[in-house]
Amino acid sequence: MNNCTERLYNGLVKENPTFVLMLGMCPTLAVTTSAVNGVGMGLSTTVVLVLSNMLISMLRKIIPDSVRMPAFIVVVASFVTIVQFLLQGFVPSLYSSLGLYIPLIVVNCIILGRAESYASKNPVVPSIFDGIGMGLGFTVGLTCIGIVRELIGSGKIFGVQIMPSSYEPITIFILAPGAFLVLSALVALQNKIKAKTAKTAAGSAETSSAAEE
């Protein structure tokens, strides 16, 4: 099971899809107007990722190499359709605020990327954990961006008023430009931490970066 925890760590920290690999940028920027949307999108993607990793890993010896891409796409698209209808049925408010971006999970590069680079080459259990790790890493990334944007743009986090009522919300942060600004600031912050850890001694650097994560 050591391999499985390693997969989780890999997805959450080492190869975090949002901050390190910079994959799946479209939903990252589009739906993070609030923390709730970020969590919703992240978890929907996680579900699709885990299920598709599982199925693709099971079928990895059956799918011929030459048609693997279309086969992966069909698998992913089927799960996305299922998730879409589940959300529509049970969480209609989230469904309407995520809108077009739920069917667009199909073309999220993370999912096809993991199918191609991990699930199609590894056994079922590690693939499932790889999906969970990557999905949670994506969820954490989206939630971070969502929290920053919601806090600055409307003074709330998860819909709860945080800022004092005298705080004038900077609306641009929940509009399109704010997404780019927040992401660029977070990536720059990460670069800064990386540069610092590269300079200081390896041992103390690891603890500080772990604390930052």
Binding site: C26, V106, V187
Partner: protein
């Protein structure tokens, strides 16, 4: 006619696909280092999206939502069908161009396979269904969206060529962060178009 013009301008400038709807961010950030390659990518996208919105429009109207086939209950398959159609279409367009228009193929060649993963293509197909556009308005919407992508990526590439020689950028903002800041400023600038319609 006036209605078509409004759809085209609306999708190209006011609701710019990259800067306000966040579709196709990956190529927008990845292939915008040089104006030439950006224009190549943009051209390929215009080509594919326009054809794709026509083909998916036809399939939706006459196959999925056709009352004669299972009473139009196949609509739930749209995501799967559209993504497969787009993937096949890109392959087909590539082969067709290779045979019949080698010069255009040479210009677009490298970028065509990349387009399958451009979510703008699927995004347009789904938007057309969602907004209940007919085939003509759907194609116009697709074309406008793609032109919007072309405009955005070429402007971005132009700015990035200048940024590379700028030494005033803080160390931690070099690379992706400064590109994202540029995108934010462009996005603010494109807000100016919202008064157009």
């Amino acid at each position: 006619m006036k209605e078509l013009l409004i759809i085209a301008i609306g999708s190209a400038l006011v609701n710019n696909v990259v800067l306000s709807q966040f579709l196709g961010i990956c190529p927008f950030l990845g292939v915008s280092k040089k104006v030439e390659t950006a224009a190549g990518m943009g051209g390929a996208v215009v080509f594919v999206i326009t054809i794709a919105s026509f083909v998916t429009g036809l399939i939706y109207k006459y196959l999925l939502a056709n009352p004669a086939i299972l009473g139009g209950r196949l609509v739930y398959l749209q995501t799967i069908v559209f993504i497969l159609v787009i993937a096949c279409l890109v392959q087909f367009v590539e082969m067709f161009l290779k045979k019949s228009m080698p010069s255009l193929y040479k210009a677009l060649g490298v970028y065509l396979p990349l387009i399958t993963t451009n979510c703008a293509v699927l995004g347009v197909a789904l938007t057309n269904v969602q907004k209940e556009y007919n085939i003509l308005t759907g194609v116009i919407n697709g074309f406008g969206t793609a032109v919007g992508f072309l405009v955005a990526i070429v402007i971005m590439a132009g700015i990035r060529e200048k940024i590379e020689t700028n030494t005033g950028i803080p160390e931690s903002f070099k690379g992706t962060p400064i590109v994202l800041v540029t995108a934010a400023l462009m996005s603010i600038a494109f807000f100016g178009f919202s008064g157009l319609i």
